[in-house]
């Protein structure tokens, strides 16, 4: 590779369009959120033209100890988000993805293609379409309850009675393909001779998984967990299924931020919420970069 073929100004010239986009749509929003979060900016009215500096008022309002854990408030939303991330991301997607990858490791042919194709379809189909598919699937007279009826079980109105469990299952189904693909490509780099030797020694399936596959997968598992945490934390798709309801029971943090900042156009308070979200994102992403860096050093 020819580093230094271009002089520094010419190199910057090639980078200029990208720098403009990133400055306007990544860097500016970041500082704008920071600045707006200390004001009472709104979309229209007096405070749109002439916003007042209000200090930490927006943050105090968000973290108000009396209301913090009430329905529709930030503490309650963060608690729901934690349930959602742990349930659908860490347990659902990562475990299901790992399970499928190990199950179909060293298999070829129709079974593998079928599972992979269906999982990838669930992952690649646009948000609004899968959201409606699940709306129909979980409806009181939908496919799931009709199936349960044939088994003699009367299914509930899932989205109304068990909204959090519904979006956890939805998001697990939606995103498991990523972990599955990541772990499959990681597994394919493990030499088959190791498993064959273990077979000769009479190791059980669980022993092979625990002593051979798992140690070599550990770095990939870390990468996977961190990326999934970041994505699940920020996903807005549950909104298309439940709208955050009923009565705030699926009001995860992305929906909370949207509600405050963009439906009611309270930009100041919305920005304070966005700032909290970005600080949590920064923490997750920093851990991710630290882990992937230390892995590179070891390699």
């Amino acid at each position: 590779m020819q580093r230094g073929m271009l002089s520094r100004p010419v190199g910057l010239l090639f980078l200029a369009p990208a720098i403009v986009f990133i400055a306007v749509f990544l860097v500016y929003p970041f500082f704008s959120i920071f600045q707006m979060s200390f004001t009472n900016t709104t979309l229209v009215g007096v405070n749109a033209v002439n916003p007042q500096f209000v200090g930490f008022d927006n943050y105090v309002a968000l973290f108000n100890a009396d209301q913090w854990m009430r329905r529709g408030e930030m503490g309650f939303s963060l608690l729901l988000t934690a349930q959602f991330v742990i349930g659908s991301g860490l347990i659902g997607q990562a475990v299901l993805g790992l399970f499928i990858a190990v199950l179909l490791h060293n298999r070829r042919g129709f079974t593998r293609e079928l599972v992979f194709t269906l999982a990838i379809a669930a992952w690649i189909i646009p948000d609004v379409v899968v959201a409606f598919a699940w709306f129909a699937y979980l409806a009181p007279d939908g496919t799931l309850n009709n199936l349960l009826n044939t088994l003699g079980i009367a299914g509930p109105d899932w989205l109304f009675k068990h909204p959090m469990i519904s979006i956890i299952f939805f998001n697990t189904w939606r995103g498991a393909a990523f972990s599955m693909l990541l772990f499959s490509s990681a597994l394919s780099s493990i030499p088959p001779s190791q498993l064959e030797t273990a077979d000769v020694l009479g190791a059980s399936g669980w022993q092979k998984f625990r002593d051979i596959l798992l140690p070599q997968l550990t770095p990939y598992i870390l990468t996977d967990l961190l990326l999934i945490t970041l994505w699940t934390f920020n996903t807005f798709t549950p909104f298309l299924l439940t709208g955050g309801g009923p009565s705030y029971q699926t009001d995860v943090i992305s929906i909370f931020t949207y509600r405050i900042g963009l439906r009611f156009f309270e930009f100041g308070k919305g920005s304070a919420a966005a700032m909290v979200v970005m600080i949590i994102n920064l923490a997750i992403a920093s851990i991710y970069l630290l882990v992937s860096r230390s892995r590179k050093v070891r390699a």
């Binding site: 073929m5 271009l6 990523f178 931020t257």
Partner: protein, 280 residues
């Protein structure tokens, strides 16, 4: 390796694994069943059922809906292709600049960029972006939506593109430089054609994401005749607010088909290569 005495155990385990795989396949299939049957059933309800007779009348009704067809045939392609062309071009230029110049700390910049783009995302970043687009008068325009989406996808696009630019052998570019070609000429006539696979991969990745994007156009567009298919999807509700199931089913098929075709193309031409998550 498999002795006679151990063979039955292995076969049993293999069968069990196959059985489990089919159970998983069915779990993944069940929520999608509806989309296989309902579009061709002119009496479709929310539950999936095999239609008594195959009918294409649902598609006919969708074709009659102006807003839906505008979304599908005009607005979604404008937004998708616009975002794709700008993102791919800007990312290719940036990757070339990063790869071939003496800029300090190139590795670090890519890291910072990726870090930043995973921090400023989702509804959190939409608050100031909405305000910015509102202030500069690009609210309710396609170009506003396109620019915002380019900004969001650019860091990952540059990251993917760098692998391809780094893979171009230096001798071609050096030869051209010796013969006096300008940097832009080298990029246009040598590097650009050689990174075509990268342009394809990034382009289709962007197109799939832009085609499916809901939040950005939903927030930035107001006029019904500007909405892309992802938002007009929610137009098929009757006066009482209940979904017109037959139309939604047929529209979903028309809307999803391009994404599946694009995915199949990328998979068939280039195989599934892992770019740290091809879907954001």
């Amino acid at each position: 390796m498999t002795t006679r005495s151990r063979k039955p155990r292995v076969t049993f385990r293999f069968m069990l694994g196959t059985l489990l795989a089919y159970v998983i396949a069915i779990i993944f299939l069940l929520p999608l069943l509806w989309f296989i049957f309902a579009p061709f059933n002119d009496h479709a309800v929310l539950s999936a059922s095999i239609p008594a007779s195959l009918s294409l009348s649902n598609f006919g009704e969708v074709l009659d809906s102006d807003i839906a067809m505008r979304g599908l045939l005009i607005n979604s392609p404008i937004i998708g292709i616009g975002t794709m062309l700008i993102t791919t071009a800007v990312a290719a230029l940036a990757a070339f600049g990063l790869s071939r110049s003496r800029l300090p700390g190139r590795q670090m910049w890519t890291y910072v960029l990726i870090l930043f783009s995973s921090v400023v995302v989702g509804t959190a970043s939409m608050v100031p972006i909405f305000r910015l687009i509102f202030e500069i008068g690009l609210i309710n325009t396609h170009i506003g939506v396109i620019l915002v989406m380019v900004g969001g996808m650019l860091p990952s696009a540059i990251f993917i593109m760098q692998d391809f630019v780094d893979g171009v052998p230096s001798s071609y570019e050096e030869a051209a430089m010796v013969m006096g070609a300008s940097p832009l000429r080298i990029f246009k006539d040598i590097t650009f054609p050689l990174i075509r696979p990268g342009l394809m991969v990034v382009g289709i990745w962007v197109l799939i994401n832009a085609w499916g994007a809901f939040l950005t156009p939903y927030l930035l567009l107001r006029s019904p005749d500007l909405l892309p298919a992802s938002v007009t999807f929610y137009r098929f509700y009757d006066e009482e607010g209940s979904p017109q199931i037959t139309l939604i089913a047929a529209y979903a098929v028309l809307y999803t088909l391009p994404v599946l075709v694009m995915y199949l193309i990328i998979n068939w031409r280039y195989g599934f290569r892992f770019f740290g998550g091809i879907k954001s």
